[in-house]
Symmetry: D2
Subunit: 363 residues, 4 copies
């Protein structure tokens, strides 16, 4: 395997298997001098941690993250920041039955074929547990973006299965989102989503859904306009998240059925603020790969969790066709816990581009 | 600006402005020993070139590509291959009126803000003309993929504005696609798409649409499963193409409303061929970031061309609100010419991953 | 700070400060399936560890390395391998007097100027202690190189101050080297070197020296001949080691006073082995940036340790000229402990190039 | 082959074979807004071009460089700058006798072994002719360094064979250097060097030598202190130049026989200028991988040209031992023409590090 790092200026290196000693990450390129709010980092960890509510996996990890380098006297040193998260509640024996049987929709068969040796305990390296390190790193980027650029990322669940939130241009508050265990800001819709998830769990099934994400406070000109487009960089980070099957920006796939005259956003100049903006925001805050200064909007499609308890046909490592009822502890729907991960990836991606040299506007 | 290269093992470096002396590209990491079919490279150039039909821009470029390094006695040397495409039919004066007025939906304002100095002739570096070099490089990757891996990429237009092709699992033939000037394999739908485009052009407007793309012949295990996922790499390349606002894989955004039990593809083993595959292909040939051996399917949303002749409100470089009727030669709909570009990007992305070291299955 | 990773295919990411919780490293791109000999890794750690003999620093660290990811059931998984080495014997108060006074020849002033915030305990990130993680990673690369390519790296001390080992073309045995606490294989010379170091220590001074390094068993053609030359890659790794002030290959600086007719090595073909080689090896096993199959030879110059107890003039953080007698525990001569670090860097560099895709000969 | 690019923020991509249509380079990451002095770029080309004096190769190339992208209205756009240099005076037939016979000390055998297909005309990709593109790119970096940082690089020939220039701490003027066709600023020594080269040429032989290089005007803190050390980055660039067999910094290999007390440079603060510096400069302007503000000094050892007319024993492609008298046009000593190449590489390396993000001091 290779490519366990992402970023050019702010480089996240990920390591760890689900039931190994530690999950972790190293963040290189983080500037010196930021006062670190450790409680806020742990708060993001808690938003992602398993066992946080009735609708997530029941694996119970406190996910207390340790920053073992790069911070001294409460401030970043400019040196690499290593994050360690111990794996405490690993029940490896629960996965023994998956050692030689390949789950449909799951990567374990491909790991075996590609590497010839696989850590089958809790999904090993293919577990979404590895994102714990990403969330820790993203939480630090979040503090830097907030302090130096007033940039804020907000993600929420806008669809679970056939339950859709009303689409609205307003960006919900973090509070409204966090009051819902599904992380959907509309309480009525949230309730229906919880019901759908509980029903799926009882039937040994799982559900897909959609996350909407907004980035506010972007200055104009973030993104390198050929192979470092803001949308391509965000896309690369977000598509690195297990279960993501699609991403779109602004009006997304709806642009396919539009005309230029109703899709273009007119440039406007605000004399009072001295800022350039657009009169509408079909583009989702990105034109030609660079930020326009308007909020960036993304929609992200997640497939239903592949590991389900319901009976499925598959093959084993001897190539025999077998029936599988997968045990182990899994989320019946990944979206509630994916919200902080999506935010973390956006924080890392945007900070990486803001650190790019040679940009006139944004330094 | 930075980030004009893409790829890790097969690195495409892009250069050139729309009305400069040359558009070009350098392809590094291409293995030695491939017999180059120059006519086939030019054929791909012709599929992308402007002026190829009544529904594309009328800029008339032969786009004859020269390979000025890396090939000797008709075979690749293993050294970098430089592609040069002269700009011959540049009518820079047609763009004088856009020197100080910023087109809605277009990057020229952002270039000015970010770099303080911009080549306004024909869109400069933001012109899709720069993809001529990408298509040339992709055409060479196509030959390598065909010869050494029997991999074949097929893209076609599946939607223009409100005209949709019937969705079908069958992958159309290149011949069927090329018989249509829109590059939609269904002749009846193709005709309607042409009509829609011509109508848009006459009214000084432009149209969006959707391209579907399939990659056949993929071995199992292509893609690095953390930050080099096949879908993330493809996403990064495809989202680098101007006008793309969304990309999805397999069932795409439909997975949001599915359950695990109806979305998972069962693994099956074919005793005759000795090959592993899946009984369905909701995943679009990618699981856990690696290819399953089934065809890879993508859908790509394109916005309508931003430069239109219809009157629009915008600002100029003095921040005054003005009305613009943009002249110059532009495609009323980019999709017909985007088909070979999408294919080229897929060829480059897949070859890059196939050249990744340390993969057991695919070497 | 940035650039704490090195390598393209086998990527070493380094983190940690001298008195932080852990020093560590992550090694990405290491192939799956190697049976790990943990004792041999620890053996390399022991060769580097402080306090190993009377002539090294008396900081006493067991440097027991933990591999917390990437290895399962004793074999590499192909996933990133994280190495953790706890810092146990940190006496931070010994460095309080260096918090605001800058040591001559030392980086602490530059860290303060560049980052504005510095971990002054034990040198922080500028401590050679960070190489503990490099040695652990290199020890694993050593096992891979030995098993799959029969490549062996041997480094030894060939000069300390004015004590020089007889130069000889023969590559000494590891046993002969390890019997000397200076790591000079000639027992008589070694004794003199020990005396020189002890004398320097007593006078509060330090000594420079030279390490010679040989790489045996290289296949022909390792190295990418433009910007990945074997010598440039080795140079980049070795020059990343604190205190190195020069590196040369083969006849090194002596080539400046030679003619082509007495410097060129004639190609010869050995009919019995079927191998190509050269009749002499002035080139030190590298021609045009690629290995010739003959042993690679390097010489590396190390400056004397900058931190010394003798009185020196310098400035403090208030820019006042002051006198400094530096305390803390330091090696009076870094070379004995640098031997395993040089070897580790060579192992990593050569393995990185062997994993490069597209090379015909070496796969 | 791979790795034909160098740099992280300012990326030079090199392409071309000695007798192909063009030698060239693409420079990505160059900031917008520099007024380009084209004559000064061509002046650097002329310093490198073949046929410039009686002691260089007689291949006669004007080496007129074209900037075909990235510059508009005389100023850089921030977009990639492509440089093209046509190969005009290629006499490929002169190399027919080298098609199947491998020159001692030359890479052609290794190219054949590694790639299986080689451009034997004029050395193909292994020719130092490819540095024409590097010099063009470096000339642009030189203008940027001069204008924005008052940094100046000066290289000169300090040894040819057994003729040594007096070593002196004074950095000679460019004028003094350019008055000598050997590029040694001491006219008496220069004369002896010319004599030595002419004598070598007449006897069909070649000579090695040494170049000294100084970088003046460096701010404090350039260089990333772990794997981006100023010396490691310079080393990586310089060791990429054919024929370089060694590089050292400051007192270089002499530090091996020194003590800390006579090698450390004391920090001093100049109250008038408000600048920090050192009282001596044994370190050659680099401590802990970062610039101290004092001039950077390097010494670089070059081997004698491998291609010589004198009779040598070697093998051919059938593995037979044969005698070779190599024809073709070659420099009897590469150093005079290597001076501008060394400078170009330093310009590129230093600018790359100056563009690194996150550095407090140097932005």
């Amino acid at each position: 395997m290779s490519r366990n790092s992402i970023g050019k200026n702010l480089i996240l290196t990920s390591f760890g298997e689900s039931h190994g000693a530690f999950i972790g990450a190293v963040l290189d390129g983080f500037p010196a001098g930021l006062e670190v709010n450790f409680a806020d980092i742990q708060r993001e960890m808690n938003r992602r941690r398993p066992g946080q509510s009735s609708i997530t996996t029941q694996r119970n990890e406190s996910d207390e993250v340790q920053l073992v380098s790069g911070v001294f006297e409460g401030k970043t040193l400019g040196t690499p920041i290593a994050f360690l998260i111990p794996n405490k509640d690993a029940k490896s024996n629960d996965y023994l039955h998956l050692k030689d049987i390949y789950r449909p929709g799951h990567a374990d068969l491909l790991y075996d074929q590609k590497y010839g040796h696989r850590d089958w305990r809790g999904g090993g390296r293919s577990s979404a547990r590895i994102t714990a390190g990403w969330v820790a790193a993203g939480a630090l980027a979040k503090q830097w973006l907030k302090q130096y650029h007033q940039i804020e990322v907000t993600a929420w669940v806008s669809q679970i299965y056939n339950v859709l939130a009303d689409s609205t241009e307003a960006i919900p508050s973090q509070d409204a989102i966090e009051q819902s265990i599904v992380r959907c800001p509309d309480p009525v819709v949230s309730e229906k989503m919880v019901e759908a998830i509980e029903k799926a769990r009882l039937s040994g099934d799982s559900l897909g859904g959609k996350i909407t994400c907004a980035i506010q406070g972007m200055p104009l000109g973030v993104g390198e306009p050929v192979f470092g487009k803001l949308n391509a960089v965000l896309g690369n980070y977000i598509l690195s998240l297990n279960a993501v099957k699609g991403i779109s920006f602004g009006d997304g796939f709806d642009v396919a059925s539009k005309t230029g005259s109703n899709n273009n956003d007119s440039w406007v100049y605000n004399k009072e603020t001295g800022k350039i903006g657009t009169s509408s925001n079909h583009a989702g805050g990105i034109v030609g790969g660079m930020s326009t200064g308007e909020p960036v909007f993304m929609e992200i499609a997640f497939k239903p969790t592949s590991t389900i308890a319901a009976m499925q046909s598959t093959i084993n490592s001897s190539h025999e066709q077998v029936q599988l009822e997968a045990a182990g502890r899994h989320d019946p729907c990944v979206l509630p816990r994916a919200v902080p991960i999506v935010e973390a990836l956006c924080h890392l991606a945007v900070m990486d581009l803001l650190l790019e040299s040679g940009s006139k506007t944004i330094n």
